[in-house]
C-alpha cells in the first residue's frame, strides 16, 4: 500500500549537495511490519519524513494507499497525512499541559468529527493500549512506557492505514520497551501496517521484514517468517 | 571581545535586531524633539518682558447691575476703587486699563501722524497699535523706562469721549516706525500729541521685538459693556497679602460686581502659554512611555540568550568564559545594537523635527541635546539588559554536556 519509486531527496547546502535519499525504491504491502535499520546519517530519518509526508522529495514518485502524492498542495497532503498515517516518535512528543484525553483527541480535531464521535474514538484507542482508566491524567503523571503507549493511542485514534515509528523504544528501559513492542506486534497482528526505524537488532529480527539503508539507498531487504509466539514476561505494570 | 563575531550573531537575528534598532531610533527621535519643545516653551515663559511680573496684580471684573450704564457713576466707582486699593498696605499704585499686555485680541487702533495718513500702507502693523487707556500711574505700574520726553501726569487727564486733543506717550518701536530719523516729541498723531517715548516692553510675544507698538493715554475708560481691568503694583513679596484683601475692598465700595479674575501678571503669562506648556507635558509623558516600552524590548531581546542559546552559553562557560565575560558579552551586544540605533536615531530626530515643524514652532536639534538623548537611552537600555545579562551568566557549564 506504500510504493516509493526512485525517490531522491537532495539537501542543498552553501556549496555542497547532500543526497539524503538516492534513487530509493520501496514497496510495503498492507499488514507488513517493516524494520528499517542502518548506521547514523544513513537517511533513515529522511526516509521516514518523506514516507510520512513531513518532507517533500525531489525526484521519483510516491503512492500511498493508491493515491499518488505528486502535484498535491499542502491542504491535500495534510489531509492525507491526517487520515492515513499515524506517527510515533522517540520522545513521545505529548503536549505536557494537555490531559491524556486531549492529547489523543488532537489529530481528530482536524477531521471535522462531532464531539461524540471523537470521544468514542479516543476511548477506543486508549482501550487498545490499555490506558483507558488514565484518560484525565497529565503526561507527567505517567511513566515513560505509558506515555509512549498514549502516543501510540494518538497515532491509532484516526484509524490510519500505516503507523510510522521512529525508534519508539529509544527512551525506554528494557521492561517498558518490551511492553511497547508487544503492543506494536499485537496491532500488527490485528492488521495495522507498521514501519519502524530502530537501532536494536533484536527488535529488527522480531518483525516480518528488514530494510537496511546506507548512504540513502536500500542495501538489504530480508524477510523473516512471522514468529509464532512472542516470548512474554510477567512485568509489573509500570 | 570578538566584535566581528558579535555583529555576525546580530545578523542571524535580523528581524528582532531590526525591530529593536527601529525602536531605539524612534525613541531617540522623540526624546530629543520633546526636549527641544520643552526648552523652547521654557524660553518663551522666561523671556524678560521688561515688567515686574511678580509684583503686578490684576483684577478682572464686570458690573452686574444696570446702574453702571450711567457713565459718571461707573467712573466715580472706579476712582473710589483705586483710592481704596492704594490704601492697602503693600500697594504702590493702581490703575484701570482696557487691556493687558500678552493677551490675544485686545483694544487696538491704527496710529499715524496726522500729515501721513498712508503710513499704514507702508507698515501694516500700524493698523493694530495697542491702546492703553489708563491713568498717569501706568508707567510706574509697568516699570517703564523713559527714552525721550516725559510720562503723562495728572494734568494730562482727559474725560472719556472728549473731542479735545490729548497728550499721549508711545513706545520706542512705534516712534521708530512713525518718526525714524527725528524726535517724536511734540508731533501730532491721529491718537493725540506725543509728549514722551518709553522703552519697549513685551506687549505681543508673537510679534518681532521692533513691532511692539503701543500708545498710552490718561483717559481712563470705564464702560459697563466692557470688562474692567485693574492693574496694581505691589511691594516685592506682598502680592499674596494684597490679593487676599482685594475682593473685600472692591466689593466694599460697591457690591454689584462679579470679580471673575484675580491673578498676578506672572500667572497671566503662564496661562497665555498654557496650551504650549500642556503640549510639552503631553510630549514628555509620551517620552517616558516610549522609553519604558523600548526598555521592555531590550529586556526581551537579551532574554533570548537564556531561552534560545542556553547550550551555546554553557559551552562558552565550559570552555573557560567567566561569569563576568558572559555579562559583558550580553551587555556589549546590547550596546552594539544601541549604538546602531542611535545612528539611525539621528536621522529619525531630524525627520521628526521636520514633520513637527509643519504644525508648531520648533527649534532645530543641536549637538548637546543629541548627546543628552543618547545618554538617557544608554542608561535605560543598560539597566534593562542588566538582569537578563546576569541571569545568562548563571547558566552552568554542565549544560554543555547534556544531551537530553
Amino acid at each position: 500500500m506504500l510504493v516509493m519509486n526512485n525517490i531522491s531527496r537532495i539537501y542543498c547546502g552553501e556549496s555542497i549537495q547532500t543526497h539524503a535519499l538516492r534513487d530509493f525504491s520501496l514497496t510495503v504491502e498492507q499488514g507488513e511490519f517493516v524494520a528499517v535499520t542502518g548506521p547514523s546519517g544513513s537517511g533513515k530519518s529522511t526516509f521516514l519524513n518523506v514516507a510520512g509526508l513531513l518532507d517533500t522529495f525531489d525526484q521519483g514518485s510516491y503512492e500511498l494507499d493508491g493515491v499518488g502524492v505528486d502535484g498535491m498542495n499542502d491542504n491535500q497532503i495534510s489531509r492525507l497525512r491526517n487520515e492515513k498515517i499515524g506517527f510515533i516518535f522517540q520522545n513521545y512528543n505529548l503536549i505536557p499541559d494537555y490531559s491524556i484525553f486531549d492529547n489523543v483527541d488532537m489529530p481528530l480535531r482536524y477531521r471535522g468529527l462531532s464531539a461524540k464521535e471523537r470521544k468514542q474514538r479516543v476511548e477506543n484507542a486508549l482501550e487498545k493500549v490499555g490506558l483507558a482508566a488514565r484518560m484525565d491524567y497529565l503526561p507527567s503523571q505517567l511513566s515513560g512506557g505509558q506515555q509512549q503507549r498514549v502516543a501510540i493511542a494518538r497515532a491509532l485514534a484516526g484509524e490510519p492505514k500505516i503507523l510510522l515509528a521512529d525508534e519508539p523504544t529509544g527512551n525506554l528501559d528494557s521492561l517498558m520497551a518490551r511492553q511497547v513492542m508487544e503492543l506494536l506486534h499485537k496491532l500488527n497482528q490485528e492488521g495495522t501496517t507498521i514501519i519502524m526505524v530502530t537501532h536494536d537488532p533484536d527488535q529488527a529480527r522480531e518483525v516480518s521484514r528488514n530494510v537496511q539503508i546506507i548512504d540513502g539507498q536500500i542495501t538489504d531487504s530480508k524477510i523473516y517468517a512471522p514468529v509464532a509466539e512472542m516470548p512474554t514476561q510477567e512485568v509489573a505494570n509500570v | 571581545m570578538n566584535i566581528k563575531a558579535l555583529i555576525k550573531s546580530l545578523f542571524l537575528r535580523k528581524f528582532s535586531t531590526g525591530l529593536l534598532l527601529l525602536q531605539l531610533a524612534l525613541t531617540l527621535g522623540l526624546i530629543i524633539n520633546s526636549t527641544i519643545l520643552a526648552l523652547d516653551t521654557k524660553a518663551k515663559l522666561e523671556k524678560d518682558t521688561g515688567m515686574p511680573l511678580d509684583e503686578m496684580l490684576v483684577v478682572v471684573s464686570s458690573s452686574t447691575s444696570g446702574a453702571f450704564k450711567e457713565l459718571s457713576y461707573a467712573a466715580s466707582i472706579a476712582e473710589e476703587d483705586l483710592a481704596k486699593i492704594e490704601q492697602i498696605p503693600g500697594v504702590i499704585a493702581a490703575a484701570t486699563s482696557v487691556q493687558l499686555p500678552i493677551q490675544t485680541g485686545g483694544w487696538n487702533g491704527n496710529v499715524n501722524d496726522v500729515d501721513d495718513q498712508d503710513a499704514v500702507l507702508r507698515d501694516r502693523y500700524l493698523k493694530f497699535v495697542a491702546k492703553f487707556h489708563s491713568n498717569e500711574k501706568l508707567a510706574q505700574i509697568f516699570d517703564l523706562d523713559l527714552a525721550e520726553g516725559r510720562y503723562l501726569t495728572e494734568a494730562d487727564r482727559t474725560p472719556l469721549f472728549s473731542e479735545e486733543e490729548m497728550n499721549i506717550v508711545i513706545t520706542e518701536s512705534l516712534k521708530n516706525a512713525l518718526y525714524p530719523s527725528e524726535s517724536a516729541i511734540g508731533k501730532l498723531t491721529n491718537a493725540g500729541r506725543i509728549v514722551g517715548v518709553v522703552k519697549d516692553f513685551v506687549i505681543n510675544p508673537g510679534l518681532a521685538d521692533d513691532k511692539q507698538y503701543a500708545v498710552f493715554t490718561n483717559m481712563p475708560v470705564t464702560l459697563a459693556e466692557f470688562v474692567q481691568h485693574y492693574i496694581i503694583r505691589v511691594e516685592p513679596s506682598q502680592l499674596n497679602q494684597v490679593k487676599a484683601q482685594i475682593r473685600d475692598v472692591i466689593l466694599g465700595v460697591q457690591p454689584e460686581r462679579d470679580i471673575f479674575g484675580l491673578f498676578s501678571m506672572r500667572e497671566h503669562m503662564d496661562s497665555f502659554y498654557a496650551n504650549d506648556q500642556g503640549l510639552v507635558s503631553l510630549f514628555i509623558g509620551l517620552c517616558i512611555l516610549m522609553v519604558v516600552i523600548t526598555a521592555i524590548s531590550s529586556y526581551a531581546y537579551a532574554q533570548f540568550h537564556i531561552t534560545q542559546q542556553t547550550k551555546l552559553i554553557g559551552i562558552r562557560r565550559a570552555l573557560g568564559a567567566t561569569k563576568k565575560d558572559i555579562v559583558m558579552y550580553v551587555l556589549t551586544e546590547n550596546w552594539l545594537v544601541y549604538a546602531l540605533g542611535c545612528l539611525i536615531g539621528i536621522g529619525a530626530t531630524i525627520g521628526f523635527n521636520v514633520m513637527l515643524s509643519q504644525y508648531i514652532e520648533l527649534s532645530k536639534p543641536d549637538f548637546v541635546l543629541a548627546a543628552m538623548g543618547v545618554g538617557i537611552l544608554f542608561v535605560a537600555s543598560t539597566l534593562a539588559t542588566w538582569l537578563p545579562a546576569k541571569k545568562t551568566s548563571n547558566i552552568p557549564p554542565v549544560i554543555a554536556t547534556k544531551t537530553v
Binding site: 530519518s45 519524513n49 510520512g52 513531513l54 518532507d55 495534510s78 489531509r79 497525512r81 491526517n82 506517527f87 516518535f89 522517540q90 520522545n91 512528543n93 503536549i95 499541559d97 489529530p107 480535531r109 482536524y110 484516526g158 | 528582532s16 529593536l20 527601529l22 525602536q23 527621535g29 522623540l30 464686570s62 458690573s63 452686574t64 447691575s65 444696570g66 450704564k69 490675544t104 491704527n110 499704514v120 500702507l121 501694516r124 493698523k127 464702560l223 466692557f226 498654557a274 496650551n275 504650549d276 500642556g278 503640549l279 507635558s281 503631553l282 510630549f283 509620551l286 512611555l289 516600552i293 523600548t294 521592555i296 524590548s297 526581551a300 532574554q303 533570548f304 531561552t307 513637527l356 508648531i360
Partner: protein
Amino acid sequence: MFSYYLKLSFINFKRSPSLYALVLLTLSVGIGLVCANFALISVMSGDPIPEKSDRLIHVSMNTWATETPHEEPLHILRYRDAMHIEKADMVKSTVTFFASGIYVRDSESESLARINASVRATTAGFFDLTNAPFAYGTGFTENTGKVLVIGDELNQQLFGGGNNVGKVLELAGELFTIVGILEPWHLRPLFYHATENMAFNNTDDIFAPLETAIDLNWAVHARSSASDSVRTLDESRDKNYFYLQSWVELHKASDRKFLQQYLDNYSQSLKDAGEHPLDIRNELHDVNEWLLKQEVVDERVLAFSIATGLFLVVCIFNASSLLLSRFHAAKFEVGLRRAVGASKSQILTQGLIESSLLGVVASVVAIGLSGLFLIFSTEMLPNLANLAVLNGETLIAGVILSIVTANLASLYSIYRANRYTISAELK
C-alpha cells in the same frame, strides 16, 4: 473548528499570562493614545450640521471704508451691509448676529445674585437656520421686542429646569420674557461662531433680538473694527462699524452663484457711489469651508498625533518582539500538529484567530485607556475641554485598529511558523 481555535488561544494565554499581559498592555497603550488623539481630531474636524452644511453660507465682504487694505475680506460686517443680506430673496433664510455677554437673574428671585451668561444678539432667522432644538416654546419671530430664548444650562442654573416659558428675566436692569427654551445643544465645533478662538465654546446661554440688543448698547464680545468713531451701539447703525456676522441658508447648494451675484451687484453699487475704496471681494464659504479656513483643528493636536502614531509603531514592534519569543516556545506544538495532519492554512487560521482575540481584548482596554488619555489631554490643552468626547467613529476605529495591530504584531511569528520544516522540532 472556530471554537476549538478559540479554546487553543485561551490555553496559550494561560501558559504565558505575563507575556501576553505585557503584549496586551503595550498594544492597548499605543492604541489608546492614538484613539484619544483621533477622537479630538475627528470632533474638531467634524461636520456639526451635516444635514445642511453645504447650504449654509457665511459671508465675508471687503466693504471697509478707508483705503487701508486688509489682507483678507473682513468676516465682520456693518449694519447696512448685513441688512442688505437680510433682504436677499433668492435664498431660504438669513441670520445676522453678534456675540455678547450679560449678567442675568430671575426677576422674581429675592436674591440679587446674577449669573454671567453668554449672549447671541440675533435676527429671528437664527433658530431655523441652525436647527436649534427646542424643549419648550419657540424662537422669537421679530428682531425687536423684549423677548428671549434661553439654553438648557441656563434654565437649570436659574430655575432648576422645567418649562419656564413666560417667566421674566432681568438683564442689566432690563426685563425680558422667555419665549423659548432649548434642549441641551452641543455643536462641535461651534460653526456659527468659529472666529476669535470661539469655535470650541458652548452654544450660547441667551438668544435675544438683534435690534433690541443694539438699542440697549450691549457689549460686543468678539472682533469689531471701525473707521468712524463710534461711542455707543445704538448710534452705530449708519456708521462704518464692523461687528456683525451673517449666514445665509440656500434652497440648494448650487444657488451659491445667485447669492454671489447679489452681493457683487451690491458692492458694485457702493463702488459707483464712491463708497467702496477697496477691491470687490465678496467671499462665500459653506460650513466646512469656513471651518477649514478658520483652521479650527488645533495644530498642536496634529503635531502630537505624529508622535502618537510613531509611538504606536514602537508598540507594535515591541509586541512583535515579545510574541516572537512565544513563537520559539510554540514551535514544538506547531510541528506536532502539522505532523498529525494539520495543514498550513489550518495552523495559519489558528494563529490569526489567536491574534484577533488578543486584538479584541486589547480594544476593550484601549478604549478604556483612551477615555483616560482624552481627559488628560484636555487638562493639558484647556481650550479643547469641550471636545473630550469618545464619538462613535473613534470607538469603531479603536476596535479595528486593535485587531489590525495585534495581527501585524503576530505576522512575523505566523510567517516563521509557516515556513520551517516540521521534522526539525520533533526529533
